[in-house]
Amino acid sequence: MTVETQIVHIKGIKDGLLVTIGEGDWPRAQSTLLSSIVEKASFFQGARLAMEVGNRVLHAAELGALRDRLSDQGVSLWAVISSSPVTEQTAQVLGLATRLSMPRPERSVRPLDTTLEGENGVFIRRTLRSGFRIASHGHISVMGDINPGAEVIAGGSIVVWGRVRGSVVAGADGDESAVVCALALDPTQLRIANLVANLPGKKAVSQPVCASIRNGIITVEPWKPKER
């Protein structure tokens, strides 16, 4: 089944509906989408919607407003697919999925299924507050704090220019050579590969440190550049 208009294209997919938004300005696209939903209200009632927006840059205000207006119509927006990193980040911040194959953020990270020749990584320049979750098969660096209740899960290593107080998992795909470096380390939980760190209780290590696997246990050591 296909509803065709110039700018908005709606089709049924395995788990709900996929809306593809073509070229054109955003307010027009949004009103076209909403009016086609209002027209066929009974058909859309309770629908799960994924939205493909191409390389369009959308900010939280726009995406949040659309989500709210959709939810007024009984339609839930669960995913936004975009090739724009800004839009993708917005969607993640709003708790929306950004891939169709990944139904909903889940705790475990699937093992790497591609052979990555080079190293890839993500750079996040903000403090991650409670409830935020960053997951990547590559390395993750954060410029800011990781607060309690936030989660960072990396296939590779994690470097934090700030304090770690939330949960961090390095080498989530099984890489035992992964490390976690931070300016101050007092995590809720720290894991590398399949190991869970035995944390030294309350006293935070408030100097630059590096956690790595040594002789089968996670060891936290002050960062000494000379030894490396």
Partner: protein
């Protein structure tokens, strides 16, 4: 006149959002400002009780949104302060009765007539929270010096940032100075170190708050109380005044002071 819309929220329940909203409203109105507060906690309304206006509710927020009455009809005027109004929440409906865009429309209608629109957000991060934050010009996050309340405040501050309503400002409520001094309570520095937002007020734990809430007479009406003064100060800071933070130390007499000096740390 163009009002500033202030939303009071917290994430965690029971930290004092409604008390804070009521007291800021009273303090602003007592300072000659025209204030309307909106109870955003549809289904679990409380603000009317704290303000002592519960027996005067005829129409509510949902009646306005659904067109059963005019906005004016739902506004209850306070008897003590002529420039203070309340728009109560519906008790028999839930948060989905109102949408974020309804709230934006509603506050836009109020902006013309008032200096301040205060919205009392419900606990949680769902629809009720989004309804309350959608029209906000500035957001105040209330927390207590407890690990769980601070954790939730952190979450809510993140959500406010992602709704592009930040930076939020913080009210640290129910600080027990005695416990802080003994090292049994988080200090404001501990809380601020984690949350990294601007502090707009510290409210000491004060029995008068509960006593006056039960009577429907917000404590800010009585500036002789410590909590009342703290709320008055926050209202002044909201208006842009530079008010120093009050000394939370409970006054001790000379003998207590001496005994503390003789036995440092001992109790």
């Amino acid at each position: 006149m163009s009002a500033t819309v202030v939303t009071v929220t917290s994430g965690k329940g029971g930290v004092g959002k409604t008390t804070t909203t009521a007291n800021l409203a009273v303090a602003l109105a007592a300072g000659g400002q025209k204030v309307v507060c909106i109870d955003g906690d549809i289904g679990l309304r409380n603000l009317d009780v704290i303000l002592g206006l519960e027996n005067r509710i005829v129409y509510d927020l949902v009646d306005v949104v659904e067109g059963r009455c005019r906005l004016k009809q739902a506004m209850i005027r306070d008897k003590r302060l002529q420039e203070l109004y309340l728009i109560p929440a519906a008790q028999t409906r839930d948060k989905n009765a109102v949408s974020p865009s309804d709230m934006v429309r509603l506050t836009d209608d109020l902006r013309e007539e008032f200096d301040w629109v205060l919205i009392d957000s419900p606990a949680g991060i769902e629809r009720g929270f989004r309804n309350s934050v959608a029209p906000a010009d500035t957001v105040l996050v209330v927390t207590n010096p407890e690990v769980s309340a601070v954790r939730d405040a952190d979450r809510i501050i993140g959500l406010i940032e992602s709704e592009e309503k930040g930076p939020a400002r913080l009210i640290l409520n129910r600080v027990n100075y005695e416990m802080v001094k003994r090292g049994d309570m988080l200090t404001s520095d501990d809380v601020l170190e984690l949350l990294a937002v601007e502090l707009i007020g510290i409210v000491p734990e004060d029995d008068h708050v509960i006593m006056s809430s039960n009577r429907g007479q917000p404590v800010a009406l009585d500036p002789k109380t410590r909590a009342g003064t703290a709320f008055q100060n926050i209202a002044r800071r909201l208006r842009g005044e530079d008010v120093p933070f009050m000394n939370l130390e409970v006054k001790e007499d000379i003998f207590q002071k001496l005994s503390r000096l003789i036995r440092p740390g001992g109790n």
